[in-house]
Amino acid sequence: MVYQVGLLKGILEPYRSRYQLQNAEAVTKLGLKLLFLYFLSLIVFAIGGYFGIGSESFSKEITTMSANEFEAAKLLILSGNIITGILDPSIYIFLAALYFWIVTDIPYIKLVIVQMIVFGLQLVEKTLLIPLFVLMDIGSDANPFSLGIISQYFLRSDYFIHFFSEITIFQFLIIALQYFYLKEFSERNNYLVLLMIVLFYLATWFVKAFLAYIQVGVFV
């Protein structure tokens, strides 16, 4: 049985996809879909970069730079965003698959396909957030799908506010979807699989919060 990689199918018809992937002997259209994902990711990150989403820490330079310099620097930031648009899926798909391959007994290729499906969902979230941030005049700490807003009422620490703003409804959906696939593919205890997944996502949230927290200027 040949499994044809379908990202939308993977999200919208999880049972069927899971069954097909479970019984797959060969995989087609993987490279094509991977390219497509990279392309989408690049576009979404570039659009986010165009609006300057996430560039709050740089904005203060507006007072010290000439208009030309300011825009030139922003173009560099946009380039950085585009690079992230490449790095992000790479890490999320291949590195994460490697982690799950280590902690579970699932073949790597299947993990890659699952990561691709859930990364599609990540992109959907990111795509939705761009107009939301722009139209509502909010940053990622005030993402209404996240716990960030509530945490701002209880916490002083910027770092933890960033952390809670990473925990969104979408992240729960992604975790659920990932668990839905992996628990079926893995022979191990479901709770263990869930724990591994949750741990992975906790790690990503902490890392992302850390990235939001640090000022690059400190290093360079």
């Binding site: 970069g49 165009y50 609006f51 300057g52 989403i53 996430g54 560039s55 709050e56 820490s57 740089f58 904005s59 203060k60 507006i62 007072t63 010290t64 208009a67 030309n68 310099e69 300011f70 825009e71 030139a72 620097a73 922003k74 173009l75 560099l76 930031i77 946009l78 380039s79 950085g80 965003n81 585009i82 690079i83 992230t84 790095l87 941030f133 722009v134 509502m136 005049d137 909010i138 940053g139 990622s140 700490d141 005030a142 209404p144 799908f145 996240s146 716990l147 807003i149 509530i150 701002q152 009422y153 409804i169 729960f172 992302k208 990235l211 939001a212 640090i214 690059v216 290093f219 360079v220």
Partner: protein, 420 residues
Amino acid sequence: MSGKWKITAVSIASIVLITVNIYLLEKKESKVERTVLVENWIKVKKDTITDTIQTNGVIKPVEEYDIYFDTKKNDFKKFLVKEGDAITAGSSLFEYTTTELDAQKVDLEAEKTAAGGEIAGIEEYIDKLRSYQATLTSDSGIAAIDESVEKNLSIDLTTSSTDLIKSSIEQEIYKQELEKNSLNEKVKMLDAKLSSIEEQSNSIVTTSEADGVVKNINKNLNNPIISIVSINMGIAGEFSEEEMKKAKVGMTIKASSSDSIKALKGTIGRIHSYPAEEPSLKKDNKFPFQALIEPEGEETEPLLVGSKVDLTVITNEKAGVPSVPIEAVHYQKQPYIYKLTKKGYVDKHYIKKGLKAEGKQEIIEGPSVGDVILLKPNVAVKNHSNFITPIQFEKLKVATYKKFTSREKVRYLLLGILEK
């Protein structure tokens, strides 16, 4: 747990979370950090702000003075100038005679006629006397004598001797001669008076007081019978009620017309404080004003009376003051603008406004020259928000990158890669 139930639970939880979040975000005095997408901004500029009134005017002589004529007391004779004539001070304008002198003249002439009649009567009488005298000497007896003569003679002709009669006639003739002489004198005097009146009435002319051009002559002698305008040109126009509040005598004007290349300069010379037409509630009252044109150094083309000009009245001018576009200024209780601070926030700053004109607003108190001001969006969702700016490709220049050190370039690139 069935799948449906799970989905419902998750959906409800999600909706609750989103609702709470939106509430916390949008409620007043929200603690939530906001990020404003600043689409457009500008630096406070050092600028010259000129407040002007834009209006229209027409080229007209500066002064106009009218000459009046009293038709009750005087008799008009003739005009000595035509419309359009250039005249100098002292030029004769028209001739007239006064009716007072005329009345005198009529009186004198009547007297003269009366005196002439008397002289004629006396002469006739003398002739009669002489002829009577002649009859007496010729001894043809006593001729019939005129009754009129007899009445005047103080003697009884029938009884008196011829000699006596002769001498008394002689006396009478002599008396009459004297009378005639005095009357002749009187006539001479009257003639002198009359001729002097004649001379006077011929020499009554009205002269011009200043140089100018005859603008109007009223042939039917309605006052003013002559209007004279000066050679110096000015500009006449009208201010609206709104403009009257700003306009003052002495303000600089600039005038340009479509057909002359050179702009005229000048000053407001006079503003009428009373509207051109009767003040009324219904319409906007117009107040006439005149502006004087400053003569140019070299002789320029003469100004045509009646040419229309576009007029700019400079009512106020401030040079080198901090200025922002008026759309950057917002109002609550006080005017304020949003400043983009060096800490990366959009902060509300109250300002004290100065002169506002040409879409620019002077800032007397508030952000200073070089500070960055928010233009768009015109409302920051929350004071002291973070802000981000979309990239403006049109401001990108390759040459700018030469200004950046490698370290800066790496920093910005990393910022894009790492910070979200």
